[in-house]
Symmetry: C2
Subunit: 331 residues, 2 copies
């Protein structure tokens, strides 16, 4: 920078001000500095800058999930992409972190602690995940996507209304005259699927229907959904609707139903959760699904984090984003 300043005929300080477009720089000086920087191919050293400013301009996006799940989970892919965009829009660089094994945990903590990033957006759906608790001890601003495992208060969370979404789905089925409404639930060690199952159960009870024995748990995969559907069908050949806790599992359920000769939606109506843009409308028949927008979630998370960066004492916020029902041919 010294060189640039000399080349432009000004002092280091003035060059710095021009480069960071601070106030109190004459237009002439600013232009000379900018021209010099261009001619000399200069770009400021970020390490030096963040050493004194104590901020890096980078934000971590932490995905704490088993490895295999990330590969074919389209929702996570959307989160990465949206995270990148939303952060870029506020001039921040995304640093992706996959935290899976226990060994990753300490690495992740060390990284977040090391001053590489100014804050973190954390997705840790599993209730037993030790990461959220470990993060509490750090002085780095964190916003969680979905409920933080084992922590109820004092953290910033942006979640979707999972229970409300399930209610929408089941009410829709009840209104269509369905009486034997089963569900393929997601893993009950995560809060989102727990809430979805609860919503299904409550809504059935409200409608005077009996949920007993109409639940089958699966692992959010295609084959898991297919197997769960088989089990349900074996126990209750007369079921006339099913609420599936994710699109991917619904694809599996669809296959099973098809193989069992059930017409959809005539014999069995299907409603799922996620409304994944590439999956849900592409099925045969297109899936009715509870719509949640990853971009919207990330946007809210970034917004909260930016405020947190301004004011560390921002009082903890639990944002619950509304969901809607995208009705298609499967119901």
């Amino acid at each position: 920078m010294e060189d640039v300043a000399a080349f432009a005929g000004v002092s280091r300080s003035t060059a710095s001000r021009a480069l960071n477009d601070d106030a109190y720089v004459s237009a002439a000086a600013r232009e000379k500095v900018l021209a010099a920087a261009r001619d000399l191919g200069y770009s400021p050293n970020q390490a030096a800058r963040s050493l004194v400013t104590r901020r890096t301009g980078a934000i971590a996006v932490v995905l704490s999930e088993p490895e295999d799940r990330l590969l074919d989970d389209p929702y996570r892919a959307a989160v990465m992409r949206a995270g990148y965009r939303e952060l870029a829009d506020v001039g921040r660089q995304m640093v992706l972190i996959f935290s899976d094994t226990r060994e990753d945990l300490s690495r992740t903590v060390r990284f977040l602690e090391g001053g590489h990033v100014d804050g973190a957006l954390v997705f840790a759906p599993h209730r037993a995940d030790p990461l959220p608790k470990a993060l509490r001890l750090l002085r780095i601003p964190v916003v969680f996507g979905g409920q933080a495992a084992g922590i109820r208060r004092g953290v910033h969370v942006v979640d979707f209304d999972n229970e409300g979404g399930a209610r929408l789905a089941v009410e829709h089925l009840v209104a269509a005259g369905r009486r034997r409404i089963a569900t393929v639930a997601g893993p009950q060690d995560q809060s989102a699927p727990i809430d979805r199952l609860a919503g299904w159960r409550k809504t059935l009870l409200n409608a005077g229907l009996d949920p007993a024995d109409l639940v089958e748990e699966a692992d959010f995969t295609l084959s898991g959904g297919a197997n769960a559907m088989s089990a349900l069908l074996a126990r209750h050949p007369d079921l006339d609707a099913v609420f599936v806790a994710s699109d991917m599992m619904a694809v599996g359920a669809l296959r099973t139903l098809d193989a069992a000769g059930r017409r959809i939606p005539e014999d069995v109506a299907v409603v799922s959760f996620d409304d994944n843009a590439t999956l849900a409308p592409a099925m045969d028949p297109p899936l009715t699904s509870v719509h949640q927008d990853p971009r919207e979630q990330i946007h809210a998370m970034v917004e909260t984090l930016m405020q947190l960066l301004q004011d560390q004492n921002l009082k903890p916020r639990q944002q619950i984003l509304p969901v809607s029902l995208a009705v298609r041919a499967s119901s």
Copy 2:
């Protein structure tokens, strides 16, 4: 760090050496420092460290591709994941960068130039992509995954043997007695699909078969594959085999063939490319596919980059990784 040193009763220098486990520190001193660091909850400031060492410990993985493609491209997802792992294994942090629009280009260049990372692994499959050329001007070590657009020499590349893979596929079909072997090619503005198409053509000619009019180009998507297959079937109802340039397109082709009443492999044999672990074996029938391992590619790229970090003058290397044919029921 000063505090840690004081607490441990040693000097700043000794503390630094202990923390970086340099040579020439007594075991006693090292332990005292480590204990002090633990007790004080100290973690070194990375900005200060990289200011003097001139390295950050971070490596960028740049994906230069249209946004929509990343979401459902399982190969890219595997690349991200493998990149994270392989880099973690050599003690480096991955910084993911999506570079799509032209506006992203300058942002990407600025970022890579800013000293945030020590090197970059770049995937830029499109021939018209301006990124590779822009990167040439930077003094940052770069290794390309797949051919770099518009650059033939002077860069480090780790690619798969696309043409050889296509040859394997077609030779397999010829050996099985197929005579009318069509192809669903990928976008011809990328080198991988170009090479695959060339391999198909050459192998047909070598076998004394006529490739004329048996090509249909598609965009690597499921629906693109389905449409291309329809077009081929319309022109050549008598085709008895098809080489599809990606698994995803093959899934589409399978649907079209099924809808047209063709039995697979009896009427039409299908061979695809990628051998995606979740997709290819899960199809009905399971797909014969040319196997390429993203992990292997990333591994080679990381290895080359690490050498490049040691020795900037490493002579440019073009590594072509071999592929194999995973034979399954579709052929």
